[in-house]
Amino acid sequence: MTQGFEHVEATLAEYAEVTRAAMGDFLVDGQPAGHLYDLVREYPGRGGKGIRPSLLLAACQAFGGAVREGIAPAVALEMMHNAFLIHDDLEDASPTRRGEPTLHELHGVGLAVNAGDALAWMALQPLRDDGVLGTRIAKLVLDEFLTMVRVTTEGQALELGWRRSNAVDLGPADYLGLTGKKTCWYTTVAPLRVGAIVGSRGIAPLESLSRFGFYLGVAFQIRDDLLNLVGSDIAQGEEPLSDIREGKRTLMLVHLLAHATEGHRDWLVEYLAAPEDERTAADVEQVLALMERYGSLDFALEYGSGIAAAAGDAFDDAFAGLGVSPHVTFIRGLIRYMLARSL
């Protein structure tokens, strides 16, 4: 439990448990178990905070719906998230996920890719019109998922493309655009939109919710990126400094590229151009030292805190007129929870 966030964490745990229990109905059993169906269950079985389904279910109830109505989209979202992770780990050559070896490390690339495909297929099953949502809302929810998958894969392509072409002339806005697509849409924006659509039967104003979700997601991601460099994410199964080793275009790296002297910048560009397995631990530490020297970490912290403040204002705008409810209170608490992790 995190001091001051006991209620948020308890509610998160409840939503995560409800989602996991419902997910069991859609995680197909069969043969070949050892080469497919066991692999599909691997990441969902490792848990996770369940921020996405929690946001969706809380928004659903805040707008007048019930958990019974939001649970199928919440399950679909969590399954899609896990499918993304399988392929994402492979694309980033990540060795660990949630404290354990990644799926491709355990079973090889081929089986991991196939398991990711299967999980993405299974994730679509809860979205079928089963009579709970009704035809009209089920279609709106499916539209949201189609948009979410498209935006997310575009974001992932953007990042991988930047690394492949060694893009170095980037600004903070480029980083925000990337993060908005790659992470925010399916982590915060889509859960809020889908929850509101289901809860309000499609009448909720979505743009203000999307804006809130975008600001919250970006502020969260900046914080997450900082934690990878100076935090203690090892406990969550992430490898420290892995972003630098992978050459990930974080806000700190973008700032450093724009502010380093010519000599340091040339060295950095050369470092980023080298294959990942040729980047030494000393190189990685050197990049971190440069970030500290040029104020890139402080810049990102301050830049992100401004966006976090905007997220608070956007929250008030998005949930205006709904009145006070435990669900709105929970979402408000989630803002602080997502952004308060210590550096």
Binding site: D143, T147, P172, A173, K181, R201, I203, E302, G321, L322
Partner: protein, 212 residues
């Protein structure tokens, strides 16, 4: 405060740059999504919310009221659609097996169509129209339903709810006819009649299609 800009005076220059950049990027992303598959991101205005995004536009209970109305409409719309689908399935099944579209000559044209698999139940409404100027009391009964080869679905397998009707002058009433198709019934078309005391001259042809 409509777009989460923050309070400028309380913010550092870096914080303000972060906010303005995030606002611009979000607006650009939404504009980009406008072109997605010709389906723009839906806003309150497109959904008919008064005053555009409608945030804080009315009393607290208005969104809940609108959601409740939308929920009710959806329930009835789905019910209506599913009813039509069931009706279409029955009609298609009857047509495929040569039911009312090609009735037996002595059936006089089936006026009550039923379809079910062996072992299942078929249900249809039977309407009694009283064109006279006096009320009548009607007791409904059904004959055995007989196939071309002599196979029979006995009358005892059927029932009406309610079995008795009081029909006012010039009025119409309905009763629900349920036929429990025996599990051993062979696929085919079974015909018979609905008869009634109180209307001795009236008979309704019944056509039951047992699916193969």
């Amino acid at each position: 405060m409509s777009d989460g800009d923050g309070h400028r005076d309380d913010l550092s220059d870096v914080q303000w740059r972060g906010i303005t950049a995030a606002r611009d990027v979000f607006d650009r992303l939404v504009a980009e999504l406008d072109g997605f598959d010709g389906r723009p991101p839906r806003t309150g205005a497109e959904l008919g919310t008064p005053g555009g995004n409608g945030n804080g536009a009315g009393p607290d209970d208005i969104p809940q009221l609108r959601a409740a109305v939308a929920r009710t409409i959806d329930v009835y719309a789905d019910l209506f659609r599913r009813t039509l689908e069931v009706y279409a399935d029955v009609v298609e099944s009857v047509l495929r097996t040569g039911g009312p579209a090609a009735p037996a000559p002595d059936a006089g044209g089936a006026e009550v169509g039923l379809a079910a698999a062996a072992g299942a139940e078929a249900v249809a409404a039977v309407w009694i129209h009283n064109a006279t100027e006096a009320p009548i009391d009607v007791v409904l009964r059904i004959t055995d339903l007989t196939a071309h080869d002599g196979a029979v679905v006995e009358a005892s397998a059927s029932g009406f709810a309610p079995p008795r009707l009081h029909v006012g002058a010039g009025a119409s009433r309905s009763s629900e006819l349920t036929v429990r198709v025996p599990g051993a019934a062979a696929p085919g078309t079974y015909v018979g009649h609905v008869l009634s005391t109180g209307m001795p001259e009236t008979r309704l042809a019944v056509c039951l299609v047992v699916a193969g």
